[in-house]
């Protein structure tokens, strides 16, 4: 089994950190993992990608990819700008979107290579509720990890929370872990 995950967000939103936490949590779960940011100049606000791979065996391949099993969208505005069309979602793929409940998600906004399941969580609301804000931006990356865990079943919620605390340290980590937990329970599958 090899799962390829792409996180689509804006520069500064914490997509690369999220990818790293996915890898750490997967390793805690006894899996092999890789995580890396988009290889290029850092550009706050620009649409950017971060990547992760999870496998039950040694991961041999390297580098960025455009065909995925899981697509995580950190900013729903990117769906409207059609950046989502740059990524091909494999058959049986899962798409986890940060969006408010009333927003409409259309499958035409995505490049689907087969069937895909859509999941939605209001990560912005969860971040604001927990006062997770930095430089004016709600920190949606940790809630998205909770939603990722529930939607994909690839990594355990407990491992995500542990990896979050390890990454951010005790004090900040605990608040983020609460956001992870809330998103895990609030994420819903779209039908």
């Amino acid at each position: 089994m090899l799962v390829e995950i792409l996180i689509l967000g804006r520069g500064g939103q914490g997509g690369a950190t999220a990818a790293n936490i996915i890898a750490s949590a997967a390793i805690m779960d006894g899996l092999m993992a890789q995580a890396f940011p988009f290889f290029g100049a850092e550009r706050r606000g620009a649409p950017v990608k971060a990547f992760a791979r999870i496998s039950d065996g040694r991961i041999l391949r390297h580098g960025m990819f455009n065909e995925v099993d899981v697509l995580v969208i950190m900013d729903q505005g990117l769906v409207r700008t059609n950046y989502t069309k740059e990524v091909f979602v494999r058959d049986g793929g899962r798409i986890v979107i940060n969006s408010p409940r009333d927003a409409v998600v259309r499958s035409e906004s995505f490049n689907l290579l087969g069937k895909a399941c859509f999941y939605r969580v209001d990560a912005r609301a969860i971040a604001l509720r927990n006062k997770l804000v930095a430089a004016g931006w709600p920190l949606v990356n940790t809630p998205m990890l909770g939603a990722f865990s529930k939607a994909t079943g690839l990594i355990r919620l407990e491992s995500v929370k542990k990896a979050v605390v390890e990454f951010f340290g005790e004090r900040v980590g605990e608040v983020n872990a609460i956001a992870v937990d809330e998103a895990f329970h609030e994420v819903e599958e779209l039908t």
């Binding site: 990818a19 790293n20 993992a33 890789q34 995580a35 890396f36 290889f39 041999l60 390297h62 580098g63």
Partner: protein, 391 residues
């Protein structure tokens, strides 16, 4: 032993910390920067008792590391691309001075045009400098190779500086699982620093003075002899590392599915993993092929490669760099070194790919291998040197 998720660069930094270096001197350059940033954090947090020398250039970075090493410090620096080129004078000086130290080289394409992605041209250009040159494939190997580099460099049979190469981004900035050993075990295995002489004021020593040609020739010849002896030292060190930490990497080369292979891909660096994945797929399609991963380019593993490749039906050397007006450096070394053992060489081909940081995937390796094998099996010989443009 704990399993940690570390980027290639952070794996190098952790190994340097665990080698208990005394001095780090470096100047930031992408994609190397996160190595010394991490080391600065270790020093700042009291986890590493070392001096961080902040310098104004790479030229001074290696000079400062060298000066510290002369005085008995275990010293480390790291750089990439233009930074490495800027310290070039010192790169040559340190090896001829026979001073052990370790430098990480995070490979990055040289400009112009300006480029931050990996190819191996900066690393290749160091091949005549007299440094031990290793090249890692993954974060675990970057960790292990860095620790081993100190041991090899400080061996009295060698006393040469050692370089640890790793690819920009696809290794340097990619998190992977790394088994981290206990500090006590590392201390015991690595031991205290050794070097051929110390300039610390305790004794009057002249070093680097004008020397007549006949003497100079001898000193330079001995750099070559040290390289020859280093072949056995690299093997020994990897072996003893395996006994202590439970992990060896095959010495100077790693052979992947080669025992029964008729065809061989030869290459070095992170993309060797992608080539291995291609070999897995090709074997399922009935192709008899393996990967020979070059772990050290200096000393060049002539003997290992001759043994692995002498009866090959086709050798494809895939390289992320080329010597303009000639061919790929590993190909040239391979062809020359094979002649030491036999006048009869197998069919060998040189494919230049991934230059400028172009992403080369397992699908590309599948294509390259199939193209070559299909030519050879139909009785034709493809061009000996070819550029492959992955897109």
């Amino acid at each position: 032993m704990v399993l940690k998720s570390l980027t290639g660069n952070h794996a190098v930094a952790l190994a340097v910390k665990m080698a208990r270096v005394n001095v780090v001197a470096a100047y930031p350059i992408t994609p190397q920067t996160t190595i010394v940033e991490k080391l600065a954090e270790y020093i700042d947090g009291g986890e590493l008792d070392a001096v961080m020398i902040r310098v104004e250039s790479e030229h001074s970075a290696l000079a400062a590391a060298y000066g510290s090493a002369l005085a008995g410090a275990r010293a480390f620096t790291a750089t990439s691309s233009h930074g490495l080129l800027y310290m070039y004078e010192w790169v040559n000086w340190v090896s001829r001075a026979r001073v052990p130290l370790v430098m990480a080289v995070v490979t990055r394409t040289m400009g112009p045009p300006w480029n931050i992605w990996t190819d191996h041209s900066d690393y290749y250009e160091q091949r005549d400098t007299g440094w031990i040159q290793g090249f890692a494939m993954d974060a675990q190997e970057a960790f292990d190779m860095t620790l081993q580099a100190f041991k090899i460099s400080e061996d009295p049979r060698v006393f040469l500086p050692a370089m640890v190469g790793l690819d920009a981004f696809i290794l340097s900035h990619t998190s992977m699982p790394v088994e981290v050993p206990e500090q006590e075990l590392v201390d015991e295995w690595l031991g205290a620093r050794t070097q051929g002489f110390v300039i610390d004021g305790s004794e009057a020593l002249i070093h680097g003075a004008l020397s007549p040609p006949e003497y100079t020739e001898g000193f330079i010849e001995d750099v070559g002899k040290a390289m020859e002896e280093a072949v056995e030292v690299v093997r020994e060190v990897d072996h003893s590392f395996g006994r202590t930490f439970g992990r060896s990497h095959g010495g100077l080369v790693e052979l992947y599915k080669c025992s029964d292979a008729k065809y061989h891909i030869v290459l070095m660096g992170a993309w060797a993993g992608d080539a291995m994945e291609a070999v897995d797929a090709l074997r399922e399609q009935g192709y008899s092929i393996g990967v020979v991963r070059v772990r050290y380019t200096r000393p060049f593993p002539g003997e290992e490669l001759y043994k692995a490749l002498s009866s090959s039906k086709g050798v494809i050397v895939v390289e992320r760099g080329v010597s303009f007006g000639s061919m790929g450096p590993v190909f040239l070394d391979l062809a020359g070194n094979m002649l030491k053992y036999s006048r009869k060489l197998p069919y060998m081909r040189n494919v230049i790919a991934g230059v400028g940081g172009v992403n080369v995937t397992y699908k590309d390796f599948e294509y390259i291998a199939k193209e070559t094998i299909n030519y050879l099996e139909s009785g034709e010989e493809p061009s000996v040197i070819a550029w492959y443009h992955a897109r």
